[in-house]
């Protein structure tokens, strides 16, 4: 009706619309109630005769509202139906319904089946028989059947995950139409050219001839599909195609992992083009988890892409030549490399103690091997490594003292000069060198270099022909910093500085991470080439074919493979076909993904120009009875009319005090209700958008980090905490007066919550009456100690300790605490320990008491020249000092320097000695074994002849 998909079931009722003008007249002369006003001087004019008794007219808008209301009710009574069912084809013979059931038809499958059902039903009403042909059936004879059986058959039909060849069905259809003159053909097309749409249409028209008609129904929408996916270094790129502008203009690409959990999503918009790349910008770990990409709102097999291990991240093995203990991770060269690689690659490090770490690393089948300061590689390791590189692996080496001094092996891109050079050392005039910008040909080009990076020492390449082409990065004086060379299918790259911070601060910069990211991307390129060339897929030698595990149906849903699915050959490259439906093939740990479309597939709109084809749109929607909505609308208008009448009558104007709050309350209740409803809809979205906040730097952490300061553990016992605070304050003041260190105010910390890494020394008085910290706290303390911090545990029980007696409560408490901490071997401070020499020369550490023993990490057994050395020190600072002398109480003094706690025994210069002990401990924690070295100064001066 009027070009709209609208029909009336009782059109005669519309005649009542003629009565509307009469209604208008009636409504116009019935006025609303007057407003009432109290008026004290009314007596003055009561006797006046009203001059104009003509009542006020109904306002026009109220009139319009009421007329609309009446019109709506009349319209509703006429029974309007939106999208009325179409009329059938006007033929006389049987009806052949051809149903496209490739994956593009999955888009509106229900509507297609409903359209087929409608056509069959209307044909049956006219006494005609029907037949159904699905294009995937191939050359099967067309047999008419009764409508109920056809409906069942239609219900059993499902779209298939490939595009069937339509033309194979042409022959039986032609035969059928020839046998039944006057037969009509209805082709419910999927609107995609795949499967020779035009040729098929021409064939249908030819088969129909003059007597029969061919009608084609197409959906309003054409599909969007994913053809290929690439895990690029920065993001996951998916190529999306669509068939003409009838496909979705924009949408959401969603990524799922193997369990079907959503990982991420990306919006895409075709913007007029038919082929775009959607970019899924996710961290590499997440990208590697992706097993399935799906275009939301497109429920077809073509809109699903399956990903297997070919799209996974690269594996990197790190082998360190340094046999240093890993207890101090910041000194390990592989630490920085592993941390930098971890975000985008799977890092493997051979376990410590492996006999040949390089072979162990190669057994991990990495695509990139990082060797940090490994000297000469020889023997089997060298052979294996060479083969690895020849086959496409990438070797990344870092220089170091071993490489600088070692004899050359051939696993470096350039020949190296022995020794290297030192820039900006104490015996050199040169200053540390900065990086030069990357050359355009370098794989690193495009990365911004950091001004802060400087190199103090490096190994040098022998000048030789082709050195410039092998240079990927250079210093600002042109010295190569990173060189690389191709070997076979693989690559060797050498960074001319160490992977730790001893030679340069490159490993601390973001540049390092970016360069390693490029290196890993390079490794991916070479190994992929290698795998396709040699086909060393695991299990390839054992099985010739791979059986389907889970396959997609036409709607793009993973399920059990159909019985017709056949295993794929190992080197099956192409897209799916009827025998090999898309899906995952092979065992779960080595699945191969087969996708619906070839990587370069295109979707086209069929061209039916000049064909005698009755083209109609697939009915877009079910018929909608508009009566309920019209009546609901009329009811709302009725309510509005009632409110307007009340308002005109002056309700709410009089009795201001009582009515207004009530009205306001009603209005606010309504608004609140609306908001509640809206909020209920939006609540999940809100909950999703609230991402977990990262732990922010708080003010306390900033304070702790920006100034060096001492710290004490807040025990919860206020007396002890006060003594600790005052003691450390006095000690800080003494340090500021006597030494080069001027610490800021000490800070109380809670080891369970506060970050401890900022403090060189933490003083921990033991309060036995407080609960033990949790195990997690012990782990944090352990970590703090491992990373170079020093904890002074003070049991304050020197006077209650009894040799051979049971442990005091404080000692027992400390033992339980340290049960979860990795404590080194301890010894009482020996006379020659460096802690007794760091600032003052002391005999022992005293506090409020002097009798207690102070324990410190045991030093290695004294070396042969022990007799000559006045001080000994290990390689590092003792992470733990345990005393029982109550140091803080001895240090503590008030603002004017008056001591606060009595000492025991309090003779001589005990308080001064206590402060000196504190100064020594702090200087020991900050300077380490430096004082142990300085004691050689006399020998040095002797040697220099001074």
């Amino acid at each position: 009706m009027f070009g709209l998909p609208l029909a009336f079931s009782a059109p005669l009722v519309l005649g009542a619309l003629i009565a509307l003008p009469a209604l208008w007249y009636l409504l116009r002369i019935t006025p609303p109630r007057p407003k009432q006003i109290a008026f004290p001087p009314l007596r003055l004019i009561l006797d006046l005769e009203p001059k104009d008794q003509q009542p006020a007219r109904t306002p026009w808008w109220l009139l319009a509202l009421r007329l609309l209301l009446a019109a709506l009710i009349i319209l509703a009574m006429a029974g309007p139906i939106w999208n009325p069912p179409p009329r059938g084809q006007a033929g006389s013979g049987p009806l052949v319904v051809i149903l496209d059931n490739g994956w593009p038809a999955a888009l509106d499958w229900d509507k297609r089946v409903a359209a087929a059902n409608d056509a069959i039903a209307s044909a049956a009403r006219e006494g005609r028989t029907s037949a159904v042909v699905a294009t995937s059936e191939g050359a099967r004879d067309v047999l008419p059947a009764d409508p109920s059986r056809l409906t069942e058959r239609l219900r059993a039909l499902k779209p298939l995950p490939h595009t069937p060849d339509r033309k194979s069905t042409l022959a039986p259809i032609s035969k059928f139409v020839a046998a039944n003159p006057g037969a009509d053909i209805l082709w419910i097309s999927d609107g995609v050219d795949q499967g020779d749409a035009r040729a098929f249409a021409e064939g249908l028209i030819a088969a129909a001839g003059e007597k029969s008609s061919v009608r084609m129904l197409t959906g309003a929408r054409t599909p969007v599909a994913i053809t290929s996916v690439e895990n690029a270094p920065a993001a996951l790129d998916a190529r999306l195609v669509r068939a003409g502008s009838a496909g979705a203009e924009s949408g959401v690409l969603r990524a799922y992992d193997l369990k079907g959990l959503s990982i991420g999503e990306a919006r895409f918009a075709f913007a007029g083009k038919n082929e775009i790349t959607a970019r899924l910008d996710l961290p590499t770990e997440l990208r590697n988890e992706i097993a399935r990409l799906e275009i939301e709102s497109e429920r077809t097999a073509g809109a699903v892409a399956l990903l297997d291990s070919r799209w996974k991240r690269r594996r990197v093995a790190i082998v360190s030549g340094v046999t240093a203990d890993l207890a101090q991770p910041l000194l390990s060269p592989s630490y920085y490399v592993a941390r930098a690689l971890a975000p985008f690659a799977e890092v493997r490090e051979p376990r410590a103690g492996t006999r040949d770490p390089i072979i162990a690393a190669l057994d991990e089948q990495p695509s990139l091997i990082v060797l940090t300061d490994v000297g000469v590689i020889s023997g089997l390791a060298r052979d294996r490594l060479t083969r690895f590189i020849e086959e496409g692996g990438v070797l990344l080496r870092f220089a170091g003292t071993r490489l600088a001094s070692g004899a050359a092996d051939d696993l470096t891109p350039v020949r190296l000069r022995r020794g290297g050079r030192v820039l900006g050392g104490s015996l050199s005039w040169e200053t540390p060198r900065k990086l030069a910008p990357f050359d355009r040909t370098s794989p690193f080009s495009g990365i911004d270099i950091s001004e802060e990076v400087s190199v103090t020492r490096q190994v040098l390449a022998e000048p030789e022909a082709g050195l410039v082409t092998k240079t990927w990065a250079a210093l600002d004086d042109g010295t190569p910093l990173i060189t690389a060379d191709r070997r076979g299918k693989g690559l060797i790259a050498l960074v001319h500085v160490t992977a730790d911070t001893t030679w340069s601060n490159l490993p601390l910069s973001g540049l390092f991470v970016n360069m390693l990211r490029r290196m890993v991307a390079l490794a991916g390129e070479t190994t992929e080439g290698a795998t396709t060339g040699t086909s060393n897929t695991p299990g390839a030698s054992r099985a010739e074919t791979i059986a389907p595990t889970r396959t997609l149906d036409g709607f793009g849903i993973l399920g059990e493979p159909p019985v017709t699915a056949k295993p794929i050959p190992v080197n099956f490259g192409g897209p799916s076909n009827p025998d090999h439906p898309p899906g995952f093939y092979g065992p779960p740990d080595a699945m191969v993904a087969i996708n619906t479309l070839a990587p370069d597939a295109k979707l086209n709109v069929p061209n039916f120009d000049g064909l005698k084809l009755d083209m109609q749109a697939l009915r877009p929607a079910e018929p909608i009875d508009m009566r309920p909505s019209l009546i609901a609308l009329a009811f709302i208008l009725f309510l509005a009319d009632a409110l307007a009448t009340l308002w005109l009558g002056g309700v709410g104007r009089r009795g201001k005090t009582s009515a207004t709050p009530a009205r306001a309350a009603t209005a606010s209740a309504l608004v609140a209700g609306l908001i509640l409803v809206l909020a209920a809809h939006n609540a999940p979205a809100l909950a999703q958008s609230a991402a977990p906040a990262s732990p922010a730097l708080n003010q306390k952490m900033l304070d702790a980090a920006l100034k060096t300061r001492l710290a004490y553990v807040v025990t919860g016992d206020s007396q002890i905490d006060e003594a600790s605070r005052l003691g450390l304050t006095t000690l800080s003041r003494a340090l500021g007066q006597r030494t080069a260190l001027s610490p800021a105010e000490p800070m109380g910390v809670d080891p369970a919550r506060d970050e401890l890494a900022f403090f060189p020394v933490i003083y921990w008085p033991i309060a036995a009456n407080q609960p033990l910290p949790a195990q997690a706290t012990a782990t944090r303390i352990s970590e703090f100690m491992k990373n170079g911090g020093t904890v002074i545990f003070d049991t304050r029980d020197a006077l209650t300790q009894r040799a051979g007696g049971p442990p005091t409560p404080e000692t027992a408490w400390l033992r339980r605490l340290l049960a979860g901490v990795d404590v080194p071997e301890l010894e009482p401070i020996p006379r020659d320990h460096v802690v007794t020499k760091t600032f003052y020369l002391l005999e022992n550490i005293v506090g409020r008491t002097t009798v207690g023993q102070t324990w410190i990490e045991a030093m290695p057994a004294s070396v042969e020249d022990a007799a000559q050395r006045p001080a000994r020190a290990g390689d590092s600072v003792s992470p733990i000092i345990i005393t029982s002398n109550d140091l803080a109480s001895a240090w503590a003094s008030d603002r004017s320097g008056q001591p606060l706690y009595p000492l025991q025994p309090g003779t001589g210069r005990q308080r001064e000695m206590a402060i000196r002990g504190g100064v020594n401990i702090v200087m020991y924690a900050l300077t380490g074994n430096y004082k142990a070295d300085q004691v050689h100064v006399r020998d040095l001066l002797d040697r220099l002849g001074l």
Partner: protein, 308 residues
């Protein structure tokens, strides 16, 4: 269009705000001193001496003791100075009386959005403020039908209490005009009301009050909406004192008639006042109360006692 409404019963009741407002208003004006009308014995007003011996506080003269007088009147201190016996006489002092009528009828409990205060609030504020001023000036103030003339300093509280007490009475219907009893000569009466009664009633009341020579000051309080009649369209007017109502199709067409009627009514009231030598003033509730109080004070102080 301006909106108007009647006050609820609890709103129009006298409350602390009236007392406070009245006191604040009164404190802003200097003490009201009513000028002496006559220098001689016919002084109208109290603390001004009557220039002759009588009941009072101030010393007037010593006179010789006369035979037959009570001996308690002898001023022994003076008598001890010579042989004669003296009596101390004081000057005769008499306070002047002012009656104040505050209309609290339903028609007064009316306020529009244009006004600062309802009419009854304004009448109470003005009346109590005037009472306070007068008492501070030494006069006696009373409310007709409520209290006898009082000269207490807490006159505002006293009047307010009696107003509350009257309003609390069960069978009480507030009158619009003061009771028509003749007042003593040379007393004054202040009538604060909207004066919307029939002009004949008003004239009769004024005449009977003034029949013995009392002087009056009428302040006619009106709401601005009553002066301007800003109504439009289909409106139904309700009277407040009676059940009368008037429905008008086009209220604006009545404006001219109404204003003419109102002017005639006011002229009638003014004429009734003038005929007895009373003063008449108009006061609108959109004007500040102090303005009306100042005008009232001028009249009360006036040389003629207010035939201005």
């Amino acid at each position: 269009m301006a909106e108007a409404r009647l006050l609820a019963a609890d709103e129009s009741a006298i409350a602390g705000t009236h007392r406070q407002g009245a006191l604040e208003l009164a404190r802003r004006l200097p003490s009201l001193v009513v000028a002496a009308k006559e220098v001689a014995a016919t002084v109208m007003h109290g603390v001004h001496g009557r220039r002759r011996a009588g009941v009072g506080e101030t010393f007037w003269q010593f006179r010789p003791f006369m035979w037959g007088e009570s001996t308690t009147k002898i001023d022994w201190r003076r008598s001890a100075r010579d042989d004669r016996i003296y009596v101390r006489e004081r000057e005769w002092e008499a306070a002047h009386t002012v009656w104040i009528w505050m209309d609290r009828s339903p028609s007064m409990a009316y306020v529009s959005t244009l006004a600062l205060q309802s009419k009854v609030d304004r009448a109470l504020t003005l009346g109590l403020a005037a009472a306070d001023l007068l008492v501070r000036g030494g006069e006696r103030v009373g409310a007709p039908g409520l209290t006898r003339p009082i000269a207490a300093r807490n006159i505002v509280d006293r009047l307010a209490e009696s107003l509350i007490e009257e309003a609390g009475r069960r069978d009480h219907t507030p009158a619009e005009l003061p009771p028509p009893d003749a007042l003593a000569p040379r007393t004054q009466i202040v009538i604060l009301s909207d004066m919307l009664n029939a002009p004949d009633d008003i004239r009769a009341t004024i005449h009977s009050i003034a029949s013995r020579g009392a002087i009056g000051h009428v302040v006619m309080i009106s709401d601005p909406i009553e002066d301007t009649f800003p109504f439009m369209g289909h409106t139904e007017f309700l009277d407040v004192d009676s059940a009368a109502r008037l429905r008008l199709g086009e209220a604006q067409s009545f404006k001219a008639d109404y204003i003419r009627r109102l002017a005639a009514h006011r002229d009638a009231v003014r004429e009734a006042c003038a005929s007895r030598g009373w003063s008449f003033a108009l006061h609108r509730t959109d004007r500040p109360a102090s303005e009306a109080l100042l005008a009232l004070r001028m009249r009360l102080e006036g040389p003629q006692g207010g035939t201005a």
